[in-house]
């Protein structure tokens, strides 16, 4: 009899779930939020979901958009890549959202991309990534490699006099591409191949003894050595701990990371990391009026003073602001019109200066390099003079050096080959 009850309970739960799901909205503009709320990526992505919700909240307080209220439609792709495609389709067909803010990992974006293009959706992608992509339906508000990796290397080379390079990364596409670009860049700058060490480790790698020992040996050849780290998420803590334990200090061999931000630091004992570097477009510690306001709003919204802000949050912020501006300007949420209106939109960066959306759907942003402090914040030690325009296609990869992206007439192409003067790939077929 116990089973009967259980069974009845399950049926009931399924039934109610279906009812609650069909709660329809009136005259609102729907904003889809496609960030994992469970699974491995939930750690990072939940924050971005909250950021979008905060921005929607703010916008509604300020009177909404085009006289309508904004309504968030939150789905959970659960860190499961095929689910990103499925949920994108759900958002675009079932929920009829006008725009999607979402994705963190490259693979999730790649999974959602065909659906976005098929159903002509619009997505804002707020995370630094490897580049080599430009879709009509996506705006990339995070950094491309030339907005993070290359300035960082410039800084190490020119300001710290680094001559030997360790490119250490997790074995996936972002580090692979970034390191390919950096290798080409370093060689173009006259660095000998013997002075570059490349190393890849699996996700969540935790036993760094041998690799750190190799780095130590590599760095003891008398030339100033630095590590350019594209090590992802979880693997960072054991890596830095091992560096500290093997007595490698940030003065001996500084590590510059592209995936370590305030959020990541808040979950770890920062002692072994102090003095190491990170390159981002945003640091919470930057002292501007906009940033202060943003942090305040965030703390009020999330009801927790200890929550930090980070670069992808700023990217979400910029993306959202630009979208509202573009919608107001276009007077509609129609994807094609908003897409055209987006180009050239300007939003004030939280770190000063102005971000501009370029023809290639990437932003022009300043690049900052910060040193990790023991309170989990960054001290800015260097920044670019002006803004750096994001490159969809790297100039340092043989496959893409002739490609550009320009979504304005007359080119209107994500991968236009300047040599052959033609739009390649899928576009050509249409």
């Amino acid at each position: 009899m116990k089973f009967n009850k259980l069974f009845a309970g399950v049926t009931l739960a399924l039934g109610t779930s279906m009812i609650s799901f069909t709660a329809a909205a009136g005259d609102t503009i729907k904003v889809g939020v496609l960030h994992s709320l469970s699974g491995t990526m939930a750690i990072s992505e939940t924050t971005l979901k909250d950021t979008v919700l905060m921005m929607i909240d703010e916008q509604n307080k300020a009177g909404g958009l085009l006289g309508k209220k904004l309504e968030a439609v939150v789905v959970d792709p659960a860190s499961n890549w095929p689910l990103f495609a499925e949920k994108t389709r759900e958002l675009l067909t079932k929920d009829d959202v006008d725009v999607i803010f979402g994705c963190w990992t490259s693979v999730s974006r790649k999974s959602a991309l065909p659906v976005l293009e098929e159903l002509n959706g619009l997505m804002f992608y707020p995370v630094q990534y490897e580049g080599e992509e430009s879709s009509k339906n996506v705006f990339y508000t995070g950094a491309a490699p030339n907005q993070q990796a290359i300035p960082a290397v410039d800084y190490l080379m020119n300001d710290l006099g680094v001559e030997r390079w360790v490119l250490a990364g997790t074995d996936y596409v972002y580090p692979r591409t970034t390191n390919k670009i950096l290798e080409a860049y370093l060689k173009a700058k006259g660095v000998k191949p013997a002075d570059i060490m490349v190393n890849y480790t699996p996700f969540g790698h935790s036993d760094w003894q041998s690799i750190v020992s190799d780095i130590k040996k590599f760095g003891s050849k008398g030339k100033k050595t630095a590590v350019v780290s594209t090590i992802n998420g979880d693997a960072n803590v054991p890596f830095y701990k091992e560096l500290g334990n093997q007595g490698i200090s940030s003065e001996d061999i500084p590590v510059v990371a592209f995936s370590v931000g305030e959020e990541e630091l808040s979950g770890i004992d920062t002692k072994p990391l102090v003095g190491h570097l990170a390159a981002w477009n945003y640091f919470e510690s930057v002292d501007t009026a906009e940033n202060e306001k943003f942090i305040d709003t965030w703390h009020t919204f999330i009801k927790n003073d200890k929550r930090v802000t980070n670069d992808p949050m700023e990217a979400t912020y910029i993306g959202f602001k630009m979208w509202t501006q573009a919608v107001s300007q276009a007077g509609t949420t129609d994807v094609d019109k908003v897409e055209q209106a987006m180009i050239g939109q300007k939003v004030k960066n939280l770190t000063g200066g102005t971000a501009v959306m370029n023809k290639n759907h990437h932003l022009s942003k300043p690049v900052l390099i910060g040193e990790i402090q023991d309170d989990g914040q960054f001290e800015v030690v260097w920044e670019t003079d002006g803004v750096v325009p994001g490159d969809a296609w790297s100039d340092y990869l043989p496959g893409s050096k002739d490609l550009i992206s320009d979504w304005t007439a007359p080119i209107k192409c994500g991968n236009y080959n300047v040599k052959t003067k033609s739009c390649g790939g899928a576009m050509a077929a249409q």
Binding site: L160, G204, S206, K221, K241, T270, K271, G275, E379, V381
Partner: protein, 550 residues
């Protein structure tokens, strides 16, 4: 250029305070950076200058204050230098037993009534840190402590210039401690090789460097050994001698590299051993497949975190409290799982596997909900940080060393429990013949619960150790579960010694493969090897024999 000259002159001033103090002072007076500011004024300046402007101030301080500046530099290097927001008084923070106290950095007078909100940190960056470190080394060449002197010389090896060498030469004459003498001789030999005027002098220097394992000495030798014949300093004899010396050193380095790798392997092995040993009991002795074993480890690690949160001022002690606490927490959860679920699935190992997998999902989500989906920070106590430097090319990281020792300790403690105590006797009796043990009056259900609790508790202890090496997060357990099973199966189920041998051999195999194949391929190869091995010997390295094992 002039700046550099000034720095080197100040440097001389610091090194020979008695001889040429007045001389350098006059020189310094001429340089633009050093006006006649007093030390207190300069210290005050530190609170105002930005990071990039701080170096000249420090230079001035080093030059004027000499040895007296050591506490200031040290405090600054450690990031403990603050200034009072209201008065701009520069103070050093000391942290004794969690009590923060501040004292004026120059007068050492205690400044009371300050909270962390009243002071602002004087920030340092890498440039400043490396400047400070070298400055401390320069000042310490004349330290009273021979160890400091030796360290000072060694840290100057990478930037030997005329003046530094002059000072070292001077100090060498008065040096009586052998270790310091050797370090100084090394520095002088390096300088002689690089700057020496004749081949004979250089050959002598090569001789002096031949036995050294210092990387700087090796680099110097390599520079000459690999020098192109068209180089101005080239000499065939020196080059050949350097090459020969380098070869000898390289042999030693390779030897220590091998030892190093062995240690890495042992260390990885100790982690595997810790992770697997609890499983060796629940799986090996009781025959229960506990897929939630990893979560027992995770609970242990979280216990460490909670204890550290409860006693933030006694991090050094926290580990000692965390070990028994983790044992109790994981052990109790283990007992609860045994009583609640596993007991009902007795003799159905595959069902047990599924049910415990469900429990593992449940526990992970529980931690996510109750504590946080994020990783949590667990601090390393100071006594566990750092390295045991045996020679310049071979050092052992202390935390790994402790964990290795700890793993062995746990292993032998467990062995004794199983072999010598009443519980152990009962456990073995029940595992060999349940019905018979019951007939003899052993309360088998209680023994089951105790055994499972013991295995889980040990997993908890492993969690404490792992919290010192890796991330503490909800997924901690998952990353060890497959490895743990591999170790137990490879070693032979029901055999603790087998688990020990398996853990260490897999650890060592992994570490020796890693340089050749890379980390990923190494773990794949080890996995494939075990899969094939189990086909060959289904009962592992040390199988239980006889009809009882059927």
């Amino acid at each position: 250029m002039k700046q550099i000259l000034c720095i080197s002159l100040w440097l001389m001033g610091c090194l020979m305070p008695a001889v040429s103090y007045s001389e350098t002072l006059t020189d310094a007076l001429e340089s633009p950076a050093a006006t006649t500011r007093t030390v207190p004024e300069l210290v005050q300046e530190l609170t105002e200058k930005s990071l990039t402007q701080a170096v000249p101030v420090l230079e001035a301080l080093e030059q004027q204050g000499g040895e007296e500046m050591l506490p200031l530099f040290r405090t600054m290097l450690n990031g403990d230098l603050y200034y009072v927001k209201d008065t701009s008084q520069v103070v050093g923070k000391t942290d004794t037993a969690g009590e923060e106290s501040y004292a004026d950095i120059l007068t050492k007078a205690a400044v009371t009534g300050l909270g962390s909100r009243d002071v602002k940190k004087i920030r340092v960056n890498n440039t400043l840190r490396s400047y400070l470190r070298n400055a401390i080394a320069r000042i310490q060449l004349s330290s009273a402590n021979p160890h400091s002197r030796e360290q000072a010389v060694l840290s100057l090896l990478s930037e030997l210039d005329n003046d530094t060498v002059g000072q070292i030469r001077e100090a060498r004459a008065n040096e009586s401690v052998e270790e310091v003498q050797q370090a100084m001789d090394l520095a002088l030999a390096m300088y002689a090789l690089d700057q020496g005027s004749s081949d004979i002098e250089k050959l002598d220097a090569v001789e002096g460097l031949a036995g050294s394992l210092q990387p700087e000495a090796r680099n110097m030798l390599r520079k000459y050994a690999e020098m192109e014949p068209d180089h101005a300093d080239y000499s065939a004899r020196v080059s050949a001698a350097a090459a020969k010396a380098l070869e000898r050193i390289q042999e030693k380095v390779e030897f220590y590299g091998f030892i190093d790798q062995l240690f890495f392997g042992l260390s990885l092995g100790s982690v595997l051993l810790l992770a697997a040993i609890g499983l060796a009991i629940t799986f090996g002795v009781m025959g229960v497949i506990n897929m939630a074993h990893g979560e027992m480890i995770m609970l242990g690690a979280y216990t460490t975190y909670v204890i550290q949160q409860l006693m933030p001022n006694h991090i050094d002690l926290s580990i000692w409290i965390a070990i028994p606490a983790a044992f109790v927490v994981s052990g109790l959860v283990g007992v609860a799982i045994e009583r609640g679920v596993i007991r009902h699935l007795h003799g159905r190992p595959l069902e047990t596997l599924l049910a415990t997998f469900g429990i593992s999902l449940f526990l992970q989500q529980l931690v996510r909900t109750v504590i946080s989906p994020q990783n949590v920070p667990v601090s390393t106590p100071d006594w566990m940080a750092g390295t045991l430097q045996i020679n310049p090319v071979w050092s052992l990281t202390l935390n790994r060393l402790y964990i290795l020792a700890f793993a062995l300790l746990v292993f032998f403690a467990l062995l004794i429990i199983l072999k010598k105590t009443n519980l152990g006797l009962n456990v073995r009796a029940v595992s060999q013949n349940r019905a018979m043990a019951r007939a003899m009056g052993v309360r088998s259900d209680r023994v089951d619960a105790m055994t499972f609790g013991l295995g889980s508790g040990i997993a908890g202890i492993a969690g404490v150790a792992l919290s010192q090496l890796t991330n503490v997060g909800p997924n901690l357990g998952q990353s060890y579960i497959i490895d743990s099973f591999m170790v137990v199966v490879f070693g032979g189920v029901g055999n603790l010694w087998g688990t020990l041998v398996a853990a260490f051999s897999l650890g060592i195999a992994n570490k020796f493969l890693e340089p050749v194949t890379g980390a990923v391929l190494a773990s794949i190869l080890v996995l494939v090897f075990i899969i094939l091995f189990i086909q060959k010997r289904p009962k592992g390295l040390f199988p239980q024999k006889g009809r009882a094992a059927e």
